[in-house]
Symmetry: D2
Subunit: 283 residues, 4 copies
Amino acid sequence: METAIVRLHCRDVKGIVFNVSKFICERNGNIINAEQHAEPISNRFFMRVYFDCSQLNCTRESFQQGLDQLASSFGMQTELSFFDQRKRLAIMVSKYDHCLYDLLLRHRYGEINADIALIVSNHRDLESVAASFKIPFFHVPVTKSNKKEAEIRALDLFAAHHVDFIVLARYMQILSNTFIRRYKNGIINVHHGFLPAFKGAKPYHQAYEYGVKIVGATSHYATEDLDMGPIIEQETMRVDHTHSVEALVAMGRDLERNVLASAVKAHANDCIMVHERRTIVFR
Amino acid sequence: METAIVRLHCRDVKGIVFNVSKFICERNGNIINAEQHAEPISNRFFMRVYFDCSQLNCTRESFQQGLDQLASSFGMQTELSFFDQRKRLAIMVSKYDHCLYDLLLRHRYGEINADIALIVSNHRDLESVAASFKIPFFHVPVTKSNKKEAEIRALDLFAAHHVDFIVLARYMQILSNTFIRRYKNGIINVHHGFLPAFKGAKPYHQAYEYGVKIVGATSHYATEDLDMGPIIEQETMRVDHTHSVEALVAMGRDLERNVLASAVKAHANDCIMVHERRTIVFR
Amino acid sequence: METAIVRLHCRDVKGIVFNVSKFICERNGNIINAEQHAEPISNRFFMRVYFDCSQLNCTRESFQQGLDQLASSFGMQTELSFFDQRKRLAIMVSKYDHCLYDLLLRHRYGEINADIALIVSNHRDLESVAASFKIPFFHVPVTKSNKKEAEIRALDLFAAHHVDFIVLARYMQILSNTFIRRYKNGIINVHHGFLPAFKGAKPYHQAYEYGVKIVGATSHYATEDLDMGPIIEQETMRVDHTHSVEALVAMGRDLERNVLASAVKAHANDCIMVHERRTIVFR
Amino acid sequence: METAIVRLHCRDVKGIVFNVSKFICERNGNIINAEQHAEPISNRFFMRVYFDCSQLNCTRESFQQGLDQLASSFGMQTELSFFDQRKRLAIMVSKYDHCLYDLLLRHRYGEINADIALIVSNHRDLESVAASFKIPFFHVPVTKSNKKEAEIRALDLFAAHHVDFIVLARYMQILSNTFIRRYKNGIINVHHGFLPAFKGAKPYHQAYEYGVKIVGATSHYATEDLDMGPIIEQETMRVDHTHSVEALVAMGRDLERNVLASAVKAHANDCIMVHERRTIVFR
């Protein structure tokens, strides 16, 4: 079955659901699932339509053109993607391997609907992991003086490997605004704390000292404001006074891999829409 | 805003979403939210459409007739409900008050989109609770010999109070098949165990002896098979060796009230569809 | 069975467990449960011993004196409490009733090992709730100009009713430092947010706007720094884009009553020890 | 620091805590943490004492002899273990790799206080995983006709590698009673369902068909009754109608690895005691 997804958002006015349904049906698409969401405060309407496009009575290009016309008449922002044009992702890592292993294994199990194009790291430590999963690995060292060049090197690698989005799997470098703007809503980061609590460095230490009874982790799109991008997924675990900082770090590994994987799966399936700092994550 | 909900299910064939959308739009209804679900194993399609019906260009009756025609052409089972025709529920209780208080309070907070028509109990213990919330209370004693008459009495009370559905808030009597058939998918029960584990009596004792590390509670539609009806909601809590049976019972009170309230809210909002023994609970 | 609890903390040196056990056994106490905790970072040792004191070979007074001597030799802070000297608590409320009902019901079920001495409110709205549970109710209005006098009135009421600790069950007034210092680690508050995120007013609005995927509530001892006291319990729930602010508020009611009840139960059972801003909550 | 752990259980009589404390202190052990648990229904007392044994004034052998004497006077069952005598575990796998990877990674992170002595599999599929973590791997094929010989082969390998306990990381063969009796409370299995619901084969299919709203996984000691051994850990996740059997299987992978790892960590740390079919899992 050949399928496609349309995502769109616009001011919440009457007739959107009908007009979108009509548009697809007139072109002989068969809607399998349509999801909508209205944000009352911002008066914004969001829609994601998953449809069978195997019997389309027009080319994909003319479908896209028709969609653009519909979009302009409603002031919509739209995105059209075809299931057979599988996304390609890059993983950036440093030395921690838990998120990397988790992504590689879930990918192998078929949980992630995308291809892992390459792994880029500022260290060589995880090269053998990449090798054992047969994913191209590139060592791009980062120093204080070569940061800009290193980013350009990474961006060139991504371009050469036709990368659609980037996953920071505990990549321990701060990316420049230039880099981040290059992949707007296309860089998924994991923060090892329950944002907005415990931003910045050593969140488990902060959590220990604060004496919280629950710790968490957060996956979000990277934006120019560090740890402030739109949140995609969060997960928490109960802790108590018996948990040392090391124990929190160990529990955190589980939380981090879960929220990162969840975000990557949702992004790969075109389930996420971003509006201001909120995400709509359709299922 | 005047709104309505159509729920339908049928064999999963092409064009349902479009035809339903078209049907509503042609009558000048404005779809606010449409949800679909396809069960691949049974090849069954489910849909719930929430729409603004304040500008309908036909009467509600003719809308219903048109829907019946659409339904017969697709072999659909449909249900149409109007938001301004608020459902009325009856609560049946015995002596435990935790579920009763919870429902009364949530109702007062506006969480339950239905009117509590009356409370029926086989004991007088909770009469004062009903009084303090100003809900009509009827004492219908049940003995071994009068069981049938007591049920008829209760059914008469429900009819007189225009009851649409019944909530068994830890009602400690087994209902007859006659009674249950009278309200098919209209009697919500709470079982104080994680079904299908620990059916029947004293589930917390069973759980203690079995040594489980998690206990649960289950809300479901009552059917002729005791504790076997379609599950609406379940919730679990972690326990360990330190929890006595009494501690499990206390935790159970929290679980029971949560799963029962969740089921009542979903039913009142026409969010639930039942097919064989599975429920589809749209949100 | 007559039982007692000793709680103590001191620098973590050798022999504490043995010496405390020996002290109790020499006086013919029978240890039922002893719990210890060492905080490695602050090198602090905490202990809670629950013991049968029905066969003590000395008076309670001389037991206390002996304990004081032991305490001074180890530099311990100790607290001794006897199970038959049940604590008395005051509940302060404003207009929200969900935490109040929850405490009253749990008390009735025997979950809270303390007596509810009185309810104090700055409004009359919940007077009838107090009446239906037969708890003394006092209306102590608070205005901008009478704040100090109102607090004195409340403190007088607490003294007259022999109150040991105070539960702020969504009491919507900020207490003065004078008031708070009067009951150090004896005022339990509930904050309707997952601290340290979303301090201050309207935490559910903050959470909505921030776009978090999990919301929480926190119970803590009130200190002079608002919303900054030692955390006793936290609980979280998953949310997503479909939850309006009103839905978060409704979910929050469940979280708030849970974390507050949990804190009250732990405090009543002498399970909590506080050191700097961390709580040790033995079970 | 040299440390040791004593675990013991016996009829719940007076003086156990004191006598055990005294025994350890007289030999110059320093108790770091002592945990107790009394089961009121069976009148059984459980204790686990973790102590510094670096200054013992006797040999380990004479400490053990003294403990045996104490045990016989109280009718205790005791176990003494020294932290520096690290346990050795064997992993048995078939073709699923998610539990294996998880154990290997957690072991590398230092979460599991034991050495992985070898991996035994009835297939060759995971040989390369073993190789990449540098763990000895043995292929012991199992057919209908060689089952007994295969078990003997495995037991010989375990003996040769000084194995203390065995982890069945989704090992898809049923072990004989002879094999299981050889390692009483020493074989940890993971069942991919929330026991006692959904025993036997294809639990996720069973869960789907039953329409449960929560799925789970269970780790337990293997006993002669399949899926009936004492439960060590359970974990659950919410599901709804949108989850296909395949989705449940994928979620199950996360649950399985979590509950298995948790059981292995607890067993390696001598935290578990078994009495009849309940486990006491000290932390």
